[in-house]
């Protein structure tokens, strides 16, 4: 499942709802991305491409299910204006065994970093600027190519 929303999310509640009633699940992995402030950040605004964002997240989610034996998964990505410490993104994967849960959770994050149409704009005391893409994000995604 995927969700794109402005509001914050509750990790505990999301895990509980995702796993409720499925006793084949033996392990759940989750990742939460937060707005990081390395000095002077006032806000971060996330813009996205409505429609394409959902399509891309659905694809990434489906690819994780193709590669690993998952019982359930969830991607939640926020947009709009966020402040330092606010949660941005949540990925949860659940499987019979922990390794599939760990690996697929990692995969979801690496792929959505480069395949989901979001753009970050940072604001500090000097003004606002768009965040530049990172080549190490591409490298993180590429290490999954060929595997699976």
């Amino acid at each position: 499942m995927i969700r794109v929303q402005r509001e914050a999310f509750d990790v505990g509640r999301e895990i509980a709802e995702l796993t409720a009633g499925n006793t084949r699940i033996g392990g759940v992995a989750s990742f939460v991305g937060l707005v990081r402030d390395l000095g002077g950040l006032r806000s971060m605004t996330l813009e996205h491409y409505p429609g394409m964002t959902e399509r891309q997240l659905e694809r990434i989610d489906a690819e994780a299910h193709r590669r690993w034996p998952l019982e359930a998964s969830l991607i939640v990505h926020r947009y709009g204006r966020l402040e330092p410490g606010d949660p941005i993104v949540l990925t949860i994967t659940a499987s019979a065994h922990r390794q599939a849960a760990f690996d697929s959770c990692n995969f979801l994050m690496d792929w959505l970093k480069t395949e989901a149409p979001f753009w970050k704009r940072e604001e500090d005391r000097d003004g606002e600027r768009w965040v530049a893409a990172r080549t190490d994000d591409d490298e993180a995604r590429d290490r999954w190519r060929g595997a699976g």
Partner: protein, 83 residues
């Protein structure tokens, strides 16, 4: 054809979307960019450095040789920075 701009490409274009009717023969994203860039100074600025422009046709990532035609939705944006 519907054109969309995101992030700093939108800032440069001065608009978030528009409808265009490129001349017949504008059959690929690359040809569409050539035509858009020739329309006015703002569009020329948007596409001044094409190495930093990514695009999607009908909400799928596309390449310069991806076909485009009337009724398509073509989006231009910088490399993504979500997550």
């Amino acid at each position: 054809m519907k054109i969309l701009y995101f992030a700093w490409l939108r800032d440069k274009a001065g608009i978030s979307e528009c409808e265009v009717s490129p001349p017949a023969g504008t059959a690929t994203v690359g040809a569409l960019i050539d035509w858009l860039a020739s329309q006015d100074e703002r569009q020329a600025d948007v596409f001044a450095d094409r190495s930093v422009v990514r695009f999607a046709v009908n909400q799928d990532f596309a390449e310069a040789d991806t076909p485009v035609g009337p009724g398509d939705e073509v989006a231009f944006f910088p490399p993504v920075t979500g997550g």
